[in-house]
């Protein structure tokens, strides 16, 4: 680990960026996705467009560090600065290809909780959904980003802030929601896909991480790519030098990464 030239979060950013395809419309939330979109549009996805629930639409990185989607560098030379109903309407009518979500807790079907968690005897109040529930319900696919901490992986989330797949094995088919549901989970140790039944499986291990240490962190028996006929578990690509340079340009003080 000492010889790594990048941080866990930098790898999460490039892994998240690689989930953006060229020409995607990307619903960009706060924190790491702010950086991931900028990396993607600067590298393999030059025709992707970012939409932010505040009303911002961008086709290029901000020329300066952004704490939030509303920082002036993100508004300056945007394609459009419109309103939330406009952006959420794009989502609701099916025009958003991919959205990013985080969570304090996740279950095997990708249900996420960012509202209330149990901390010992006490319920701890978290900030809530923001636009996460809407993205989870309506984006064509979602990519989930979480620190790899065992307490976050639970059999049942305490509160479904952002719905994942159905638990009856039908994925999104019988789900009331319009969108396609979660397609990937990126943690600080590995990436995961969702199989045809809508259940998580291990897709790739970040460099230096073992399969056994990853699967041990889940309270259920985590499937692997082999188990669900999705090839074999691979090693997550390390950030390329050019990507790291971009990350460090977009986040010069490593505030997010």
């Amino acid at each position: 680990m000492a010889s790594k030239t990048y941080t866990d979060r930098e790898l999460m950013v490039t892994a998240a960026a690689s989930e953006i395809e060229d020409s995607d419309t990307v619903f960009v939330g706060m924190r790491l996705p702010l950086i991931a979109f900028q990396v993607a549009v600067s590298t393999h996805a030059p025709n992707s467009m970012a939409v932010y629930e505040s009303g911002v639409v961008r086709d290029s990185p901000a020329d300066g560090f952004i704490h939030t989607m509303c920082d002036l560098p993100n508004l300056n030379r945007a394609v459009s600065t419109t309103g939330m109903i406009d952006i959420m309407s794009r989502l609701q009518r099916g025009d958003v290809d991919v959205g990013f979500l985080g969570g304090a807790e996740i279950d095997r079907y990708g249900n996420l909780n960012t509202t209330w968690v149990q901390g010992g005897e006490q319920e701890i109040r978290l900030p809530g959904s923001g636009g996460a529930c809407d993205i989870a319900c309506m984006a064509d696919r979602t990519v989930l980003l979480m620190p790899h901490e065992p307490r976050r992986f639970v059999e049942e989330v305490n509160y479904v802030t952002s719905p994942g797949h159905s638990s009856d094995g039908s994925g999104r088919d019988t789900h009331p929601q319009a969108g396609g549901g979660p397609s990937a989970l990126v943690t600080s140790k590995a990436t995961f896909g969702f199989d045809d039944d809508g259940e998580l499986y291990l897709r790739s291990l970040h460099p230096g991480v073992s399969e056994s240490e990853v699967v041990a962190d889940f309270p259920w028996e985590m499937n692997t790519a082999e188990d669900v006929d999705e090839g074999s578990v691979t090693t997550t690509a390390e950030p390329a030098t050019a990507e790291l340079e971009l990350i460090r340009t977009f986040d010069p003080d490593g505030f997010w990464t």
Binding site: C70, T81, I85, L126, S129, C137, T161, S162
Partner: protein, 301 residues
Amino acid sequence: MRYYMTGEVETIEQAVSRIDSGSSIAAGLALEHSIPFAAGHELLRQGTDDLTMIGPISDLLFDQLIGGGAVSRVRAAWAGNVSAGTGYRFREAVENGTVDVEDHSNFSIALALKAGAMGVPYLPTKSLIGSDIFERSDLFLEESDPFGGDQLALVPAIEPDWTIVHAQRASPAGDAHLWGNMGITDPAVGAAENVLVTAEEIVDPDVIKSDPSRVGITRDKVTAVAECPFGAHPSPVAGYYNRDNEYYLEYSTQTKTQSAYDEWADEWVYGVSDREEYESLVERELGITEPTIAAEVQYGQ
């Protein structure tokens, strides 16, 4: 060309004094952009309380009002500190049961205000169903699309007593030019019984009328107008100043307990008599150093 100044510009003290305790207030509508912090601090100084705060994400505004004991209810999708995560005054108040929370998603708050603005009892959405925001609430209804499609959630209208907007510039009557991202400003203005406009600059009506497509608020909704430069700090205002990111991080470390908050508020809220004095507390350079001038637009005949 004649103008009718039906409104009169007030000081922010006068304008905010129109808001009664017990009111519902929508604010922070452009998300992290142009949050009306000056009006919020004035509410605290005037001791206006028992407020219901309505908004998509509240950023620090709601946390500060909660810390000052002004809030009894929050109807929002997210409440915290966007830079640091947790809003400790919000969290503690909710965990202790002193503030009641109605959980929303950003879109459900947007649609509730849009329904109010449109004058209809509800708007339908494909969002919400399947989440506990929907399942654990008795606010929303579920229906089968009467035209034969899938299940829909119905979001009932919210009509705030007040909507507070911090604008770049406004006429004395309350017609305001807004630019930069809008969030749910427009629905919240339309839905409100009263609108308070604070503005970086009060300008001649001629300035507003030179660009009627830039107008985001018209006077018929506006009850009070106050000039308030720097009125959105620490949030950014397009064309005026950048976000004061450090302030958010400092606030987070300075408000983890109620007594720490009280100390913070003594300095930043109760210790200043107006926004000018407040501004003198801010050391960081936030001005626009790389301006982008909007391409010229002509009307005329």
